[in-house]
Assembly symmetry: C2
Amino acid sequence: MERIDKIKSIIGQKGIDLAIIHNPLEIFYFTGNMVQGMLFIPLEEDPVLFIRRPKERPIKKTLTYQYIDRLGEILSYPLSWKNIKQIGVEKDIMTLSMLERIKKILPHGKFEDISLEIRSLRMIKDKEEINKIQKAGKIIDSLFAKAKDLINEGITERGLALELEYISKQMGNIGIYRMRNKDNETSFAHILSGANTLVSSYLDAPTGGMGISSAFPQGPSHRKFKKGEPIGIDIMINYDGYIADATRTFVIGEIPDKLKLLNQKLMEIFSSLKENLIPGNTAEEVALKALETAKKLGVDDIFMGIGRDRVKFIGHGVGLEVDEFPFIMKGFKIPLRENVVVAVEPKLMDPELGMVGIENTFLITEKGPESLIEFEEDLIRI
Amino acid sequence: MERIDKIKSIIGQKGIDLAIIHNPLEIFYFTGNMVQGMLFIPLEEDPVLFIRRPKERPIKKTLTYQYIDRLGEILSYPLSWKNIKQIGVEKDIMTLSMLERIKKILPHGKFEDISLEIRSLRMIKDKEEINKIQKAGKIIDSLFAKAKDLINEGITERGLALELEYISKQMGNIGIYRMRNKDNETSFAHILSGANTLVSSYLDAPTGGMGISSAFPQGPSHRKFKKGEPIGIDIMINYDGYIADATRTFVIGEIPDKLKLLNQKLMEIFSSLKENLIPGNTAEEVALKALETAKKLGVDDIFMGIGRDRVKFIGHGVGLEVDEFPFIMKGFKIPLRENVVVAVEPKLMDPELGMVGIENTFLITEKGPESLIEFEEDLIRI
């Protein structure tokens, strides 16, 4: 109930009488139960979980709950309905249809957005959450080692991805890669090589990739790896609900000097990022310093994507979803704190050489960032 | 442009001046381009696709397009903005935040739901779409045959699922299982055995399954297959954007007589469904006749799920998503037509024996339903 107490305190400050959580993943976050229904968190009373489904499967009895078939049945619950005027909902994930249904039972409600507050709360991870992200990170370490064994000139981007995903699932990857923004979607890995490392897609990410279908034009393709070109491996693992995210760049055979030089610049930017991932700094400050370093090195125009498709963030929070707070970017002024977990992913896209990229998932501690990925950070020669 | 012309004709009848399509998958449906942005379909002018990303990747030039960074830039496009009053949006998938952003550029708009119209349009598949679903069906046929080889007492639900998914991806399954309802989510296969065939979940489906994580409590678990109990294999395949869906029930060793008897009843219900899947019948009529048959056979209380978690539908349209129109259920009064593709999945849940289930994806033709799955329909003895 600690998480619910925190939300109560936040909505109290905003003058909100009732928070409504409708998304199964967030109902899970607050109650431990992945269910369809609605979690009502009234400011002045105990929270109650209205469950539409499942009804025949045991639930964790962490709070009062009631089974419903229709939303209207909520009104029969003995809440002080008359006191409810200001209602907090998450406008970035609630649909217009759902609000219309809620308005039918709460016609006098005024609806305010509490998405920022809830995302900010979820940004700070507890021990159990950190433990799961650590375990996801360990799986990624094993996969990078495995990739080092498997990469050769005969294998395709997708061939490698299928092997690694299969292995990852045997190691406990539950294989769902959730995003909060439902107009975005992603998959297990962006394994991209040569020219494909420079292909952008509809996904808000520095890399895109060709994919194998115009209906899912991102991620690995049937392109075979070739000597001397960068092979970027960007992997997500979901361990028991929690995601870790990391990237390494591999090269078959001799690493071209120009690529080494580009990678040195990347590592300098990565160092700047790591130095600044400390409690108290805002996410914006971290980004601005990295952008400054990129500019000083003369690579700001090839940083974080290709041309007009460069993304504005250099890092993103991870947890139940892969697009959590904080975003390491200009304009994101929330200060970092202990137990924030963030994936930081500087990437340089040279129009001729292709991409060099690195990404670790970091736990922010009072001593600075602790990497949850231990695999070597340099360019990896096969 | 045929699809866009159809939407124009529909919104014209509803008195709508402009339809806005915001979802990348539906922008893909209408334009062939999977992009972030907005597709504007004005009644009186040519459609225009505003693309936020990607900008550096070639697009299919099926219509006029303009690159934008911010939504406000749309206003600089020479449309007859003054004539736009009634605006059609899809309320079941548009978020409150997105509507607020749109209202900033179209403050005088009145917003109406056109979700039913668009879903009804998408319900009728063209040749190319049918061809892709057929190919997805062929992959499922191979997987059932493979399952027959692989099932034994030593393997777990999840072990089999990982093998089949890996094989399916080698055969072209693009591995994304999209749902329109973003508060639902699913995965490659519900491979469930014995008592697990009776476990419901938050997903609106007759089966649920334990899964391996409370953060994704559905689908296969670490349970090993045992002799004489039902093993339900419900698989989805996405071939080039299009989904086919099918279920078969397997048994290791002697099939218990009671299970055979239950399966006979299931097959009778399945026959009723197939007989009625003809153009002109409403989806509701098909459902009611199947429910009548189930009642006559004395299995209506164990039909389509367990207890209070029985689902209301017996079938669902498939295509770009797995929860498309039509739903074969009471209340869904839209008539079936030629070139509708629907997965029909009668399932009987006996509290002691477990589930027997069957599912095929059918193309509706003037001659009746054509199954896109050819694998044997009976209980399969291993």
